[in-house]
Symmetry: C2
Subunit: 208 residues, 2 copies
């Protein structure tokens, strides 16, 4: 918490162009939403932390909801890119690619001292109090990430790293169910052990 | 959401004794905290929903934090009881007992139309913004539930339902990581399919 407060309290350099302003808003939104959630993050505090006036904000976003959805979309694209980088890397076997993704994602969580977790998992927990549009956006994000893992598992099957009868779609779902559970526990415990524990179980049992 | 609003809007019978008042507070706290989280639940709204004046509240609890911790303790005990009921039931094999617990827990989630999820998982997501005392209470709750699953898995090993080399402590951790992930996804999708998907994967892979 002290790390979080310290970061928020630090005055940021005021962005000097329109692109920079939108970028600063999205970056700050990501920081606030992953750490405090959508409902607990006040727009005033976000804007104050990056010294952007409300008028500028409404130039880019119609509402806090619109802003939250834009932050979520940015996060989805960031992880699609990260997933593609690893899961399409043919210099590794499909199972190694999955392992590499998990390692990369774990590094990302450690980099922020377990303060952030996963924006999608965090928003998912707030679902009862979020504006209705978020549900579909969160579902679509999971589907997109899941599809990428599924394609990798299909390759694993073709290369006989996993059995011919494995239901790759079901396995990809289980991967994201467990991985998000592990991210949440890692954030609670300030330790990457849960990510390692779930990752090891999933991959080992896949290859038996 | 409409179900949630309807419930909150409904005036409740005012409790007529001290025990009833405390009980009504804990029940209502559970409803609010599991649906909206600790930070988004206002004490005023909770008290209004059960028509209890603030003075009475402070007779039982020193603060909203103290109240939240009492609600969490009540929830922990409720699930310890549910776990014991199934996992100590020697009329079933250890693996069947685990399956029975998952079935029971799934029914509980369906009963509230996926609006509640798991209080512990919900609070875990709020960890960055919760008062410091919550962390240890959440960690202790998981440890208590995990220990019960571990004891059941030790019995499964003794009865040769799972391999002699299985690390039952690690497996119990993975169970709770994945199960909480599944509860969260079930709440998002308003479907118990994620619980079924994770449960099936976990139990099948355990017995190979």
């Amino acid at each position: 918490m002290s790390e979080l407060k310290r970061k928020r309290g630090r005055p940021k350099v005021r962005p000097d162009s329109h692109t920079d302003t939108k970028e600063a808003l999205l970056q700050s939104g990501l920081e606030w939403l992953t750490q405090s959630g959508f409902c607990s993050s006040s727009l005033d505090s976000i804007l104050r932390s990056i010294q952007i006036p409300k008028g500028s904000f409404y130039h880019y976003f119609a509402s806090k909801e619109d802003f939250g959805l834009a932050v979520l979309e940015r996060y989805r694209l960031f992880f699609e890119h990260k997933l593609d980088k690893h899961l399409l890397d043919e210099s590794h076997s499909p199972i190694s690619r999955l392992k590499n993704f998990m390692h990369d994602a774990t590094m990302g969580i450690e980099r922020y001292q377990f303060a952030r977790g996963c924006l999608v998992g965090n928003l998912e927990q707030e679902i009862q109090t979020l504006p209705a549009n978020f549900k579909q956006a969160i579902v679509d994000t999971y589907l997109s990430w899941q599809k990428r893992v599924e394609m990798c598992l299909i390759e694993a099957k073709q290369q006989q790293q996993i059995g011919p009868d494995e239901d790759t779609e079901a396995l990809a779902k289980v991967f994201w169910i467990g991985w998000e559970g592990a991210v949440s526990r890692a954030r609670l415990l300030h330790s990457s052990a849960p990510l390692e524990q779930f990752g090891t179980f999933f991959l080992e049992r896949l290859q038996r």
